[in-house]
């Protein structure tokens, strides 16, 4: 036997989960670090890339599936969670990650977000929040501060911000965390924990937009570990995130709700049967 044949298989590394496609994000964008954190988290878990599906909607951050070597689906704006739910139901053996931005997830896909939390299907939803629609030139998003002044919203929108973590807790997400793109290794550990946790895991990542929100570079000196430790009490977690300034990072809540049961009472038809149903 050759040395190659007898050698132990090499351990998974983040590079195993990266594709050859080069990101088109602006240099300095936080999404580079989030991509890095996702590939690191997958290396920590060690599941082969072909057993992972990455589903997204539309936006800068939603380009992530193309940049991984996992199975990917770049879907319709705001509908990533619907597609991902279908994928997980059809292929429960896959680890399914859902990626997107604050506009895609909280505005256009806001309704799907609520019901994905409520259903508690075993998915990991990673939202790169930069408080702006970056891809379409900087319109305010649901998490944009009410007084953020721009040519598209002179004087600011005057609309209160959406609290994604509180909404997720109220709607029933089973795992809630906040990360920061400038901490790719800490964020990788949080994502790995989210993937391992059963049910719907929601990880909001502060990901600065260097082009439309250059002031977000300040986040680096402002983020801090959450002063309150991990809890399984959603009320306690909600109280913390309602009163914080949005810059506490870490895992805030890990609940005990059983994940949506997949497989019970379901009949899996062969693909040929499905194809037959679509014949005109």
């Amino acid at each position: 036997m050759s040395d190659v044949a007898t050698a132990a298989p090499a351990a998974a590394t983040p590079a195993n989960y990266k594709s050859a496609v080069k990101p088109v994000w602006c240099p300095g964008c936080g999404d580079f670090s989030v991509l890095s954190a996702i590939t690191k988290a997958l290396a920590m878990i060690g599941k082969p890339a072909h057993q992972v599906g990455v589903v997204s909607g539309i936006g800068c951050s939603s380009r992530i599936p193309a940049y991984t070597s996992c199975y990917g689906f770049h879907g319709v704006h705001g509908r990533a969670l619907a597609a991902a739910t279908g994928l997980k139901m059809a292929r429960p053996d896959l680890t399914v990650l859902v990626t997107g931005g604050d506009g895609d997830g909280y505005s256009i896909g806001g309704n799907h977000f609520l019901h994905a939390c409520r259903r508690n299907v075993d998915l990991t939803y990673i939202v790169m929040d930069n408080h702006v629609y970056g891809m379409t030139k900087g319109q305010p998003s649901p998490t944009t501060e009410p007084d953020w002044d721009s040519k598209l919203a002179p004087g600011g929108t005057k609309i209160r911000v959406f609290h994604p973590l509180v909404v997720a807790l109220a709607a029933g997400a089973n795992f809630v965390a906040r990360g920061f793109a400038g901490d790719p290794n800490g964020t990788a550990a949080v994502i790995a924990q989210a993937i391992r946790h059963p049910g719907f895991s929601f990880v909001e990542i502060l990901s600065p937009c260097v082009t439309f929100r250059p002031e977000q570079k300040e986040w680096k000196s402002l983020v801090r570990p959450s002063p309150v430790g991990l809890t399984d009490d959603p009320v306690r977690a909600a109280r913390l995130v309602m009163s914080d300034d949005g810059l506490n990072i870490g895992v805030l809540y890990a609940g005990n709700r059983p994940a949506y049961p997949i497989g019970e009472g379901q009949q899996h038809a062969p693909v040929t049967d499905l194809e037959a149903e679509f014949l005109v």
């Binding site: 088109v24 040519k151 793109a181 400038g182 290794n185 680096k220």
Partner: protein, 171 residues
Amino acid sequence: MNAQQPKSIEEFMAQAYAMELEAQQRYSDLADAMEMHNNREVADLFHKMATIEGKHAAQIMEEMGWKQPPPYMVPPPFEGLEAAEAVPIDEVHYLMRPWHALQLALAAEQRAERFFAEIAMSTKVESVRKAALELQEEEREHVELVKAWIARVPQPEKDWEVDPDPPRYDQ
């Protein structure tokens, strides 16, 4: 001191290996980003830095006699949220000049030198202390090399970041 204290030479060298890989990957990511924005000069420079860091990682494997890389681990944070030798992703600009890129590389090498110096000072494991001093010396040499490199590249023009067709509509 915020570096994690390795308990053995194997653990320490695995940390050092993870640091080099992280630096290599980061330079490679930055090179790709610059390439996509047609800043070829800086992309080439970041590619070169990635190759150099990859060689350092290979050197550690050779010195340790490892046939396979150690299991994946994240390198410890140092002086902030990231590993000592990783260039922060947010400190780049699509119009940056090689001089700027080398300043970032210099800061990364200097952080790495301080990282190993702190390990050497604080460890109670003699083999780790000796190896940390060697790596500190290597990083010091890299600092000098980058400084010499900086002296050979032109200073950036005054208006290096002026873009006649900026991505923002309000600029």
